[in-house]
C-alpha cells in the first residue's frame, strides 16, 4: 500500500484556495522534498495530508484511508513540525516529550509501562541524546529539541515521516548533523519521508521527487524541475534566477534571498 496518495487535491482555508490540482504519490523508499516561496501552501499541504485541515476538493489517502479528522491511520505518520523555542520552564523532560509520541496509541486512562520507557530511551539513544534524557526539554538547544522530536516521531514506529522546515532555527553544524539523521532514516530504515524545506541541495543525492508549489501552481517531478526556469518564474515571480553549480541549485530572487 502506498503511504500517501493525493488525487486532484485542492488545499486552502475556509473558502480561500491556496493551490489546486495536486497529484502525487509518496511510495515506500521515497524522499519527497516540497519547496516553494513563503506562504505558498507548503505547510497547508502537510496539514491537509495529516487531516488537521480538510481538503477543499479532491482527496488524499493516508495508508489507504481518506485523511479526515477521524482517520485512525493518521497516527501512523510521524510528524516533526516547526516548533519554535519551547519555554525553558516548560514542565517536561526530554523523556516526557518522547513518550508523548505514544499518546495517540494509548487508551485514555492507560499508564505508560516500563517497556515503553525502554522504547523511548532507545529512540533517544538513536538520536544521540542519551545524556540529555532527564533534562528539561526547554533547556535543550534548538538542534537537540529537533532530534528529540524525531525520537518522539520514531517511538510510534511510523509508516512515514513528515518534516516541516527541519533545520530552521538550527546552527549550520547541527543542521548538517540533523539532515544526516533524516537521510539515514530513509536509507537504513526505509521510512518514506516528506520534507518541507527552503534548501533542497543537501537532499539532492537522495531525493526521489520534488514538489514545487506556489501562486496556486503545483508540479511534481525530478530534479529537472529546477531547470524549468519558466515554471519557476511562474511560482516564485519574474525575478527568480537559478544557478546550477556542480550539481547544486541556488535559487536567487531579485533581492537575493536564497530559497
Amino acid at each position: 500500500m502506498q503511504p500517501i496518495v493525493a488525487n486532484d487535491l485542492t488545499i486552502g482555508y475556509g473558502k480561500k484556495t491556496i493551490a489546486s490540482g495536486i497529484n502525487f504519490v509518496l511510495e515506500k523508499n521515497d524522499l519527497i522534498v516540497i519547496i516553494g516561496p513563503n506562504g505558498a501552501g507548503k505547510t497547508t499541504l502537510i496539514k491537509t495530508i495529516l487531516g488537521i485541515i480538510p481538503p477543499l476538493s479532491g482527496y488524499v489517502e493516508v495508508l489507504g484511508c481518506p485523511a479526515k479528522h477521524v482517520c485512525p491511520h493518521r497516527k501512523r505518520i510521524g510528524y516533526v513540525p516547526q516548533i519554535g523555542r519551547v519555554p525553558k520552564d516548560f514542565p517536561a523532560t526530554l523523556l516526557d516529550v518522547v513518550l508523548s509520541g505514544l499518546y495517540p496509541h494509548k487508551e485514555r486512562f492507560s499508564k505508560i509501562g516500563k517497556e515503553e520507557k525502554l522504547l523511548a530511551m532507545r529512540a533517544i539513544s538513536e538520536m544521540g541524546l542519551s545524556k540529555k534524557i532527564n533534562e528539561q526539554f526547554g533547556k535543550l538547544s534548538g538542534g537537540q529539541q529537533k532530534r528529540g522530536l524525531v525520537a518522539r516521531a520514531l517511538i510510534g514506529h511510523p509508516d512515514a515521516l513528515f518534516f516541516d522546515e527541519p533545520t530552521s532555527g538550527v546552527d549550520v553544524a547541527a543542521a548538517s548533523d540533523f539532515r544526516k539523521k533524516i537521510i539515514e532514516l530513509k536509507e537504513k530504515e526505509g521510512i518514506p519521508i516528506l520534507i518541507v524545506t527552503h534548501d533542497v541541495n543537501p537532499y539532492i543525492p537522495y531525493l526521489t521527487k520534488i514538489l514545487v508549489i506556489g501562486r496556486g501552481k503545483v508540479r511534481v517531478g525530478g530534479i529537472e524541475l529546477l531547470r524549468d526556469i519558466e515554471f519557476l518564474k511562474s511560482v516564485y515571480g519574474e525575478s527568480i534566477k537559478v544557478l546550477e553549480i556542480e550539481g547544486k541549485f541556488y535559487l536567487l530572487s531579485g533581492d537575493f534571498h536564497d530559497v
Partner: protein, 265 residues
C-alpha cells in the same frame, strides 16, 4: 485561635480556602502555559458584572456570575478559534466593557453594593455550606477533567500542530479549558474575590513551574503550594485580624518570592 475553628463559619471558610487554594493554582498552570493569564483576569471581572446585575434584580448572584463568565469564555473561544483575534486584545475590550457595566449596576443597587464589594475582594467568612458543596463539586470535576485530558492538554501546550497531528481536538480542549476556568473562577470568587483570584491562580503555578518536574508533577505541586499558602494566609489573617483573601495573597506572594530566590536559573 483554634477556638475559631469550632465555629461553623470558620469551618466553612477553612474548607473553602483550602479548595480554592488547590483549584486556582491547578488552573493557573494551564493559564500560564497556554498564555491565557489575562483571559483569567478578564473572566473574573465579567463574572463580577454578572454578580452585580443579579444582586440588582434579586437573583442568586453566583448564578449571574457563572452565566456571565461562561458567556465570556465562549465569546473568547470564538474570537480565538474562528476570528483569529489575540486573546489578550479581545479580553482587554471585553474586560473594560463589563467592568463599566458592573460599576453602573453597583451604583443602581446601593443596598447591595456592600455585598457586591465582598465578591470583588473576597469574603470567605460569609460562604455558606451550599457555596462549599459547590466548590467541592467543581473541585472533583476539575480533577476528573485533568486526569482524563492531561495528555491532550500536554500536547496542546507543547505544540498545537503536533497535538492536532496526534488526534487531539485542539478547539475542543481550548473550549473545555475556558469553560472550566469560568466555573472555577466563579466558584472561588466569594472566598478569594474577583480581583484576587488571578494572584492565587498564577503565583503558585509559576512557583511550581520553577520547581520543575513533569507536567502532572507541576500541577500537583501547584495545588500543594496553593493549599499551603492559602491555609497559612487564612490562619495568619485570624491571628493578626486582617482580611483573609488579601492576607492569603500576600503570603502567596512571599512564598512565590522565596521560590524565585531559591530556584534562579
Amino acid at each position: 485561635m483554634f477556638n475559631y475553628l469550632l465555629l461553623p463559619e470558620y469551618q466553612r471558610a477553612f474548607v473553602a480556602v483550602l479548595l480554592s487554594g488547590i483549584l486556582l493554582p491547578e488552573m493557573g498552570v494551564l493559564m500560564v502555559l497556554e498564555r491565557f493569564t489575562f483571559a483569567g483576569a478578564g473572566i473574573a471581572h465579567v463574572a463580577f458584572a454578572g454578580v452585580t446585575l443579579f444582586l440588582l434584580i434579586g437573583i442568586n448572584p453566583l448564578l449571574g456570575g457563572v452565566l456571565f463568565a461562561l458567556l465570556s469564555s465562549v465569546l473568547m473561544w470564538h474570537l480565538l478559534e474562528h476570528k483569529g483575534v489575540n486573546l489578550d486584545a479581545g479580553m482587554g475590550i471585553i474586560f473594560a466593557f463589563f467592568m463599566a457595566l458592573a460599576v453602573i449596576f453597583m451604583s443602581l443597587s446601593r443596598n447591595y453594593s456592600g455585598e457586591a464589594i465582598s465578591y470583588l475582594f473576597g469574603s470567605v467568612l460569609t460562604v455558606s455550606w451550599i457555596d462549599v458543596v459547590l466548590l467541592l463539586v467543581v473541585f472533583l470535576l476539575v480533577q476528573v477533567v485533568l486526569v482524563a485530558f492531561h495528555r491532550d492538554i500536554f500536547l496542546l501546550m507543547l505544540n498545537r500542530e503536533l497535538a492536532e497531528a496526534s488526534g487531539v481536538n485542539a478547539k475542543g480542549i481550548n473550549l473545555l479549558f475556558l469553560i472550566l476556568l469560568a466555573i472555577v473562577i466563579t466558584a472561588c470568587m466569594k472566598a478569594m474575590g474577583a480581583l484576587l483570584v488571578l494572584g492565587m491562580a498564577v503565583m503558585p503555578a509559576v512557583s511550581a513551574l520553577k520547581l520543575k518536574g513533569s507536567f502532572v508533577h507541576v500541577i500537583v505541586m501547584s495545588g500543594i503550594v496553593g493549599a499551603f499558602a492559602s491555609l497559612l494566609g487564612f490562619i495568619t489573617s485570624l491571628l493578626i485580624n486582617t482580611p483573609p483573601a488579601a492576607t492569603i495573597i500576600i503570603i502567596t506572594f512571599c512564598l512565590f518570592a522565596i521560590v524565585m530566590r531559591l530556584y534562579k536559573d
